[in-house]
């Protein structure tokens, strides 16, 4: 009896505290906060969309400061490149008479040059000179259009839109190789006809994402997601684990149909016929316009998601691939090393290019 009593005493003296410590460790390990990395989320309404910056692995004060700098850079880019702002550089170029050479900043010139490469390689499927046409369609109008523009207006635009050389760049200095963002006087742009006007809606958001990433990196941020309305780029990881990025279902907006686990450096941009559209007489009219017809692109696709090392390229390519369709679109990708795509047909069937990182979900989440 004495031995038994002594056993209990030892168990209570030493066993119980050990059990408590074990429970405490288990509670910390299993708790949601213990399992979740410390992420700092910053949100702004910019460029006509919700911009989210998710920053990890740094103290809150550093994340806050870096986010403010990144947002300021995106605001600056919007002020330069928006065709909806009458005081932007793009609008200034659009307001002058055609067939005249206009000076353009090095930054805008570099972006135009990058975009024109996609225009050339996509044989015009990606175009940056469609402002008069997009204004006709009115998807970004206030209120947005609910029916197509008169066919006579479309025909007039189509007739006047040049089949090539809608936007031309020339260098007055050392040439393209020497062009710097700070150059103000060595680069000029010319719009060919009145049916051409700069609209960078299919590339500028990607560029803004890239610039935001650059600013974050300058501020010492290594792990982040910059997400401008679904045009996004990741750097680093989420505390050593990949960032998990979903691809929205084209027809059920609250569901994702694929998930990509990305780390390192990767941009991911989706273009779909569900972003801005209206239904008129039973037909869907969406905002991705085919420059060859002046009408919403009908290529058999409902969405295109492009992965590329930078968001500028991914943004431009997602539009180009959507307009070109599956066969020509996948062929275009071969010109852009490191790029890959997930195409979703109008029937909901996935088509993946080689190298696309992501898992197709048989049951959408």
């Amino acid at each position: 009896m004495r031995e038994m009593k002594s056993g209990w005493r030892v168990a209570v003296r030493y066993g119980f505290p050990l059990l408590m410590v074990a429970l405490l460790v288990a509670a910390l390990w299993m708790s949601p906060r213990g399992a979740q990395p410390q992420l700092h989320l910053h949100t702004r309404l910019l460029m006509g969309t919700l911009v989210n910056l998710t920053i990890g692995s740094v103290p809150r004060s550093q994340a806050d400061q870096a986010a403010q700098q990144a947002f300021a850079e995106m605001v600056r880019i919007e002020e330069v490149m928006s065709s909806h702002r009458s005081d932007s550089e793009v609008s200034r170029i659009n307001q002058v008479s055609r067939e005249t050479w206009q000076p353009v900043s090095g930054e805008l010139g570099l972006l135009l040059r990058q975009g024109l490469q996609v225009t050339t390689l996509s044989q015009g499927a990606f175009a940056m000179g469609l402002e008069p046409l997009t204004r006709l369609w009115g998807f970004s109008g206030n209120p947005p259009a609910t029916q197509p523009p008169p066919s006579a207006d479309l025909a007039r635009w189509l007739q006047a839109y040049p089949s090539s050389g809608a936007i031309e760049l020339r260098y007055l200095g050392e040439g393209a190789a020497a062009l710097q963002e700070s150059d103000q006087s060595t680069l000029q742009v010319r719009l060919k006809t009145q049916s051409v006007g700069l609209d960078l809606g299919a590339i500028a958001k990607g560029y803004a994402v890239d610039r935001a990433v650059a600013i974050l990196q300058q501020a010492g941020i290594k792990d982040a997601v910059v997400d401008a309305g679904g045009n996004l780029r990741i750097i680093g990881s989420k505390e050593g684990k990949p960032w998990r990025i979903g691809v929205q279902s084209p027809r059920q907006q609250d569901q994702v149909v694929a998930v990509s686990q990305l780390s390192g450096n990767m941009a991911m941009v989706t273009s779909g016929d569900y972003e801005r559209f209206f239904l008129y007489e039973g037909k869907r009219y969406h905002h991705i316009i085919d420059p060859g017809t002046g009408l919403p692109a009908r290529s058999g696709l409902s969405s295109v998601t492009v992965q590329a090392p930078d968001a500028t390229t991914a943004d431009a390519l997602s539009t180009a691939l959507f307009v070109l369709g599956a066969e020509k679109g996948l062929s275009l990708l071969s010109h852009f090393p490191g790029s890959a795509a997930l195409l979703i047909t109008e029937e909901g069937k996935p088509i993946r290019s080689a190298g696309f990182v992501g898992e197709w979900l048989s049951v959408p989440q």
Binding site: M4, K5, W8, R9, V12, R13, F16, P17, M20, L23, L24, A27, L28, S31, P32, R33, G34, Q36, Q38, L39, H40, L41, T43, R44, L45, L46, G48, T49, L50, N52, T54, N142, P143, P144, V225, D227, G229, G230, N231, L232, I234, K238, W243, R244, I245, G246, V247, Q248, Q253, V256, V259, M268, V269, T270, G272, E275, T305, Q365
Partner: protein
């Protein structure tokens, strides 16, 4: 545990042991509650053009109207939750987002230039389905 065993355990422990057990249990219980509790929001911040125009406590039921870019926007707070109730927007995407309540959650009407953001002790959040972002 039988009465006999209980009595044995009681006799086998000193007063200090019992205090230690009681305090440890309280400590563990409190920690578990604190750690497993998901942070609820404390108030909702209403922003227009990225500037705070209103702060509403989630503890008080009310409907407040703020001026958005396209007209008045009604914000409803009820039972610790908040939502965009009604506003003049072409596609009404914001209202389809429904109620939000957790710290870090947000809902926006982009055409109205209005953003609702629930504040609280945890400002970061992971989007639905454990995703960090959605390409759309």
């Amino acid at each position: 545990m039988s009465n006999k065993e209980n009595a044995l355990l009681w006799r086998a422990t000193t007063l200090s042991d019992r205090w230690l057990i009681l305090l440890s249990a309280l400590l563990i219980g409190s920690l578990a509650v604190y750690l497993f509790r998901r942070p609820a929001g404390e108030e909702v911040i209403v922003e227009r053009h990225n500037e705070i125009v209103l702060r509403l406590p989630l503890s008080r039921n009310q409907v407040v109207k703020v001026q958005g870019a396209l007209g008045e926007v009604a914000v409803q707070v009820q039972e610790g939750r908040v939502r965009l109730l009604e506003y003049a927007s072409p596609r009404m995407i914001g209202t389809r987002s429904g109620w939000i309540s957790r710290a870090g959650a947000m809902v926006a009407c982009v055409p109205c230039d209005i953003l609702l953001r629930v504040t609280g002790e945890n400002g970061a959040q992971t989007s639905t389905n454990g995703l960090d972002a959605i390409s759309r």
